[in-house]
Symmetry: C2
Subunit: 284 residues, 2 copies
Amino acid sequence: MLIDTGSRVLVETPTYLGALQAFAPMEPDVHGVVSDEEGVDMADLTAKAGGARFLYVLPNFQNPTGRTMSEARRAALSARARELGLPIVEDNPYGDLWFDTPPPPPLTARNPEGCVYLGSFSKILAPGLRLGFMVAPSALYPKLLQAKQAADLHSPSFNQRMVWQVMQGGFLARHVPTIRARYKAQRDAMLSALAHEMQGLDVSWNRPQGGMFLWARLPAGIDAVAFLDKAVAKGVAYVPGLPFFAEGGDTRSLRLSFVTPSTDEIRTGVAALAAAIRQELGNP
Amino acid sequence: MLIDTGSRVLVETPTYLGALQAFAPMEPDVHGVVSDEEGVDMADLTAKAGGARFLYVLPNFQNPTGRTMSEARRAALSARARELGLPIVEDNPYGDLWFDTPPPPPLTARNPEGCVYLGSFSKILAPGLRLGFMVAPSALYPKLLQAKQAADLHSPSFNQRMVWQVMQGGFLARHVPTIRARYKAQRDAMLSALAHEMQGLDVSWNRPQGGMFLWARLPAGIDAVAFLDKAVAKGVAYVPGLPFFAEGGDTRSLRLSFVTPSTDEIRTGVAALAAAIRQELGNP
């Protein structure tokens, strides 16, 4: 609804691959804003905002990096976007999956008229229901309704009623803390395995405060796309980072998910990855 | 996937409004092929086919007209489309809802490599599940998969498994005949009520052999869009025909659905429509 052919769209660096794929059929001109561990850089955002239709951001436990936008960065981004007249599309499928403390309030809460907020039941209830929700300025609703009807008439009413029933019973309030505890233990298992297995290797990674993913970097000279088959041959898979960049990208980067495998499998998988790296470096 | 901005697309006259809405975000140049009670006219199709990406058709109990393409027309259309190198998108949500005899075999069965076939569980099981299916030439699958992933990743796996279970149990084979019998009785009730209530009025209608809709025409001088509010004031609603035309259109045309109301409600509704028409004509 916000994109015509050639429209300028801004995203984080890197950003969610699925968003780039969702935008692609409308043929936008997508630019990555320089980003650090807290999200987009204000100076680069300001330089690139001219004529942009919107900025797409994932402030909480971002896919693919697992990083979270700080309170200070959110305040700065919200103020700057308002000054620039730049709409923000805020995607928040992972925000409930915090490990120790909840993330800062969403950007949309700071400027509801300047933001479109996307929520999801996929990560807290079941991805197979394909249900999410949107909070948008009321002026957008007639066109949103038209676009939704054109796409699929409506989301399955059966699934909507089922989720409504589940929410009436308080299931989510009981269930989500069990996910948090499980994923936190699995993140810890992965961090611990990485610290142990990658000793002496030029491999770096971050420490997400929630969500499902950890962002890592292979030693110099190893391309994560080309290396994937060799890792799979050792019994471990990852998602190469390159497709998550709107422009260029770090060929050594990769995304590690810690939520589906058990802690034992995480230890086995990280050891397999380390073995594949050592073999690749001729250092078994 | 088949439309770029400005791409030429051919449809029946009239055609399914939801298809026009689904194509619209890609900004095609849509042309209506002259159509009669059996579907598209071969001469007009041939004249308009140059450069067209595809022809979209609903051969069985079409929405909105309820008409069905004859065996002869299907054979001619299939042969002509093949000669022209014109792909056909064949939409068949209503084909199982025949009243006396099944419709002729689909266009896709005659030339699978030149057609994309769309099926649905909405009309034979439950619209609230939002599940359908597609049969397409294998060369299209990589791009179809990419487009589906960009749109929604996948249709709800929960719903897919549920429908699969229902089909294992033979429910559809038992259930669909009950729908056919019910809709046939309701169509008959509507035809009978129209013959009775519209006596002396310049109102015409067709006699669909299946499906959910009947196509009618108001007396000269009554615009179906402008007249809708007056009909609703009398207690009956219909869908004006005009939005179903890709170009121009018959302002007197309208679609009557006979599937949701009971036979009693159908009689009441048709009587209310006749009363509204008489009042509009100053002939109470």
